[in-house]
Symmetry: C2
């Protein structure tokens, strides 16, 4: 047996030698879209120390949990989060079944293309749109709607599919972490049923590693088959204080690394950093009006202010999209 | 590159050939504690067809989700579910801090060892005991209590640790499925925070693959650090209709195989079988009074009646612990 193992080890070395020259350049640089600035160096230093056997900072593979916010951290979230555009598109698609919407706000304004009218309806108006487009159907039906939309809907300004507005440097970071034994999770304020149909294909994150906001579900029988009905009642708001709750209730292990971009992620980063041993926290700062968007302290929807202050005080990593990233989106295919 | 791959493939074949004779006998029989009866044959036939490339029943690795009930399916649940014994032991440990329990039912009866008095308090009494022992502390504090208890508490009859009252044939089944690319999950009516501290060590199932009943959590600051407080409010009852809800909300993918032992698992098995493609459903029937326990249609706590009828009608697998399993528990160490 011992001899067999030695031969196997030798064969593996030979095989590695044969394959090595054929490997892409990225094997040498795991984060090629990151400039050689502090964030990249800090990330690599962290990964190297927690994966180094015998190091005092070593973390066993099962404990290598990394959680990522989605909107603004893995893909863009401006001018409005893409799930809201999905909801608006669903209202338009459902119009024939809802003649009452012609006179009912915020639907009437939305159907006329009057976004100021929609905005005037405030949070209550947005909630009405979400309930009308995200509840009352089965989970399977909703998944099909998301799949159809995400495969075709494009951002009018860039002309890209929304799934092409993901951040190339973050895709590399996800792959780099997974290549080092990390299990990558999404922990997002976005709807869990909206994200799961495409996160595996786009980010390599399977549905069971996606935590998000959720409505209650109810098991019913339909034509002799069980279905799960999406109810208009909140189960989890996976934002701010809800993020550690989502992490504990769905993952049950404290992450050792967490990634966000706004004050809505602050509690997740605090929860992550409050554990023992080596830990890592990073905010993506949207400061690149030319290539993406620039917003932070004064933004009404995705404010980045308290989190920024705390990151500076505590020495967490803050990524400048402008200075630290070579490109924002994946190259057009 | 192509040539390198061909050489690598050849080397791998050579290595496999060298190692093959040294592999343990279990490689030939992945389920050595199962008798060669129908359940074992049915399990192996299912796994072989869904893992066979090119077969019409082939299921890609990411879709190979298998869910297991815990109490009565992976470990014993008699005379009462072990989590209840944990709760009783906690009441005794907490007695000094609760002088009022001396006169307050069901605590007074429990502390006197009068189990009939506890039973007389009914479901409300059990709920009071659960609230008193499972809520009001942080998740970290509760985890430590579970870890201390599970490491030492023993079943008085068998003298075994509760974690040694797991079913050896099911441990083999878990390993066999994982060896074939399945991701194994627990979906149990038991408390998620009670199971997670030990399922990885005992079953090889990490915390993030454990779904269970749960109370609500609340983020608070304690000495400048965030903690999650366990509240006396229900978040999820992961039993019966709650099991498909737990699967969808926590896993987000329909299992292709599900394993249970009582009517509380029926909806999980129905949900699993209602998907398309090859699927597998199995009930463990406790019919072995000599080596474990015998209970089914007339049992008040863990009835197995509706599920049994449906399994027979639909041709699902029903395991007789007496006839299909060579041993029940792992050999004593």
């Amino acid at each position: 047996m011992k001899q067999a193992l030695r031969i196997l080890r030798q064969l593996t070395l030979v095989a590695g030698f044969i394959l090595a020259p054929a490997l892409p350049a990225s094997a040498a640089d795991p984060l090629p879209s990151w400039n050689n600035t502090t964030p990249k160096k800090t990330i690599i230093a962290f990964v190297e120390k927690v994966t180094k056997q015998g190091s005092t900072d070593f973390v066993p593979v099962p404990e290598r949990i990394a959680t990522f916010d989605n909107d603004g951290t893995l893909w863009s979230e401006k001018p409005v989060p893409f799930q809201l555009i999905f909801a608006f598109d669903r209202v338009k698609a459902l119009e024939p079944q809802h003649p009452e919407w012609k006179t009912q706000e915020p639907f009437a304004s939305l159907l006329k293309g009057d976004m100021q009218g929609v905005a005037a309806a405030g949070e209550k108006g947005i909630l009405d749109i979400m309930v009308a487009t995200h509840t009352g159907m089965t989970t399977d039906e909703f998944t099909k709607e998301v799949q159809a939309w995400i495969a075709t809907a494009k951002d009018p300004k860039s002309g890209r599919l929304y799934t092409e507005m993901v951040f190339q440097p973050m895709l590399e970071l996800l792959a780099y972490l997974r290549g080092n034994g990390f299990k990558t999770f999404i922990v997002s304020g976005g709807g869990v049923e909206f994200m799961r149909p495409w996160t595996e294909r786009v980010y390599g994150i399977p549905p069971e590693q996606v935590v998000g906001s959720a409505g209650k579900l109810k098991l019913e029988m339909s034509d002799g088959k069980p279905v799960l009905l999406k109810l208009p009642e909140v189960d989890l708001i996976d934002d701010k204080e809800g993020k550690p709750v989502g992490i504990q209730s769905r993952i049950g292990r404290r992450p050792i690394a967490a990634f966000g971009n706004s004050d809505g992620d602050l509690q997740m980063l605090e929860w992550t950093m409050a554990g023992s041993g080596a830990r890592f926290a990073l905010f993506v700062h949207h400061d690149d009006a030319k290539r993406e968007f620039a917003y932070d302290r004064l933004d009404k929807m995705q404010q980045f202010s308290k989190g920024w202050d705390e990151a500076v005080i505590k020495g967490w990593t803050v990524v400048s999209m402008k200075d630290d990233w070579k490109i924002i989106y994946p190259p057009a295919r």
